[in-house]
């Protein structure tokens, strides 16, 4: 990849020879996007992912893969744009990372922070991020045969990209609708009560790898 592109001027190669990399990073800081435009694009993304797919888990995996590169890039972009120079370093502990995701990332994507952040009681490597009404699911009504699908798997992919980019390897990030969990266990009952008020309530389960937890423990001691 060398030399000046010998192309006719167009969107990608404007006539003043400036590419996307010459643009100011803060230029699109407060830019807004039409919700309908994203909704139609998302419809096509789901249809694309659905071709020759073998099941619901596979479809969710494909949506996850679609969101992963976004997470990698958003991590760097959002850290660059933070106003406070002290907080523009990559988070090195789990809790600041999760707070970065729940506050900064969510505000950038959805104009509001995430609704709750909890650590799982049964599994210490698993953290749960709650969103009462994921924006990506707003216009989607699931048919009965696909009621286990949650299209917020795309957002789970973004979260996984952010975690991996920051150096916190994950086993996986998955999106689950809270309403369909069976009863039993204190934490599940609490979240099930919220599901009546918010029918689209979604929980993102972030499972970190063992070495991340060990590192966290060492850092906590020192």
């Amino acid at each position: 990849m060398s030399g000046a592109p010998n192309q006719t001027p167009g969107l990608r190669y404007p006539s003043n020879k400036k590419t996307i990399y010459d643009r100011n990073l803060n230029r699109s800081k407060n830019a807004e996007l039409s919700r309908a435009a994203f909704a139609y694009l998302f419809v096509e993304m789901i249809s694309y992912a659905q071709q020759r797919v073998r099941g619901i888990a596979d479809l969710e995996k494909r949506l996850n893969t679609q969101g992963y590169p976004l997470g990698l890039r958003l991590l760097d972009l959002l850290l660059t744009r933070t106003a406070n120079p002290l907080s523009s370093i990559r988070p090195t502990r789990i809790l600041p990372l999760l707070q970065f995701i729940a506050q900064t990332l969510w505000r950038h994507l959805f104009a509001r922070p995430a609704d709750a952040l909890e650590r799982s009681e049964s599994d210490s490597s698993q953290y749960m991020l709650f969103d009462n009404e994921p924006l990506v699911n707003q216009y989607i009504s699931l048919p009965r045969e696909m009621s286990q699908l949650n299209c917020a798997a795309f957002v789970a992919g973004i979260i996984e990209g952010v975690c991996d980019g920051a150096g916190f390897a994950t086993e996986g990030v998955s999106a689950h609708s809270v309403a369909e969990q069976e009863g039993g266990g204190g934490e599940k009952e609490k979240s099930a009560k919220g599901a009546e008020l918010w029918p689209g309530k979604t929980v993102f389960l972030i499972k970190f790898k063992q070495e991340v937890l060990e590192r966290e423990e060492i850092l906590g001691r020192g």
Binding site: F42, V43, S47, Q50, I140, S141, P143, M146
Partner: protein, 155 residues
């Protein structure tokens, strides 16, 4: 402000959605609904042909002539309103050929804004649904829920 029912008819004339909001109406079988929709579709096409043709101005390229506002604006449209002593039926046809039939009580005001709002709900919760195939029967839970909410608030 009472809304009785809503029908949505596809471009080909098949009924893709029917919903009753008022209890106490006479029950029809699903076959009856399909026949109703098909008959209306045919009738709409016939009335479109019956619509008076716009008179051609004698000299269309003349810039000096000032024409009085003509009542024949736009393309001819089919049957739009059917009113009886018991109900009023309004038909809204979109640019793509989908027809929305709204049955209300005869003295209902603001039907236009209601139909526009229903069209908006359709554009949101049906068209932006990845699991909906166009021109197929509508089975979208969010569309039903929001339609209910809208009609209940108005009545």
């Amino acid at each position: 402000m009472v809304v009785f029912a809503l029908f949505i008819i596809s471009k080909a004339g098949g009924l893709i959605y029917n919903r009753e909001f008022h209890t106490g109406l006479a029950k029809l079988t699903s076959n009856d609904y399909l026949m109703l929709a098909g008959s209306f579709h045919g009738m709409h096409a016939i009335t479109k042909q019956l619509c008076p043709v716009m008179p051609q101005p004698p000299n269309p390229t003349s810039a000096a002539a000032v024409l009085a506002p003509s009542p024949f604006s736009g393309r001819p449209s089919g049957l739009e309103v059917l009113e009886t002593s018991h109900f009023r039926m309004q038909c809204f046809q979109t640019l793509t050929g989908t027809k929305f039939l709204l049955f209300t009580e005869p003295q209902q005001p603001n039907i236009d804004s209601m139909i526009r709002k229903i069209y908006e709900l359709y554009a949101d919760y049906v068209m932006k649904n990845p699991f909906y195939t166009v021109e197929m029967p509508i089975r979208c839970e969010k569309f039903d829920r929001n339609l209910d909410g809208f009609v209940k608030v108005r009545s």
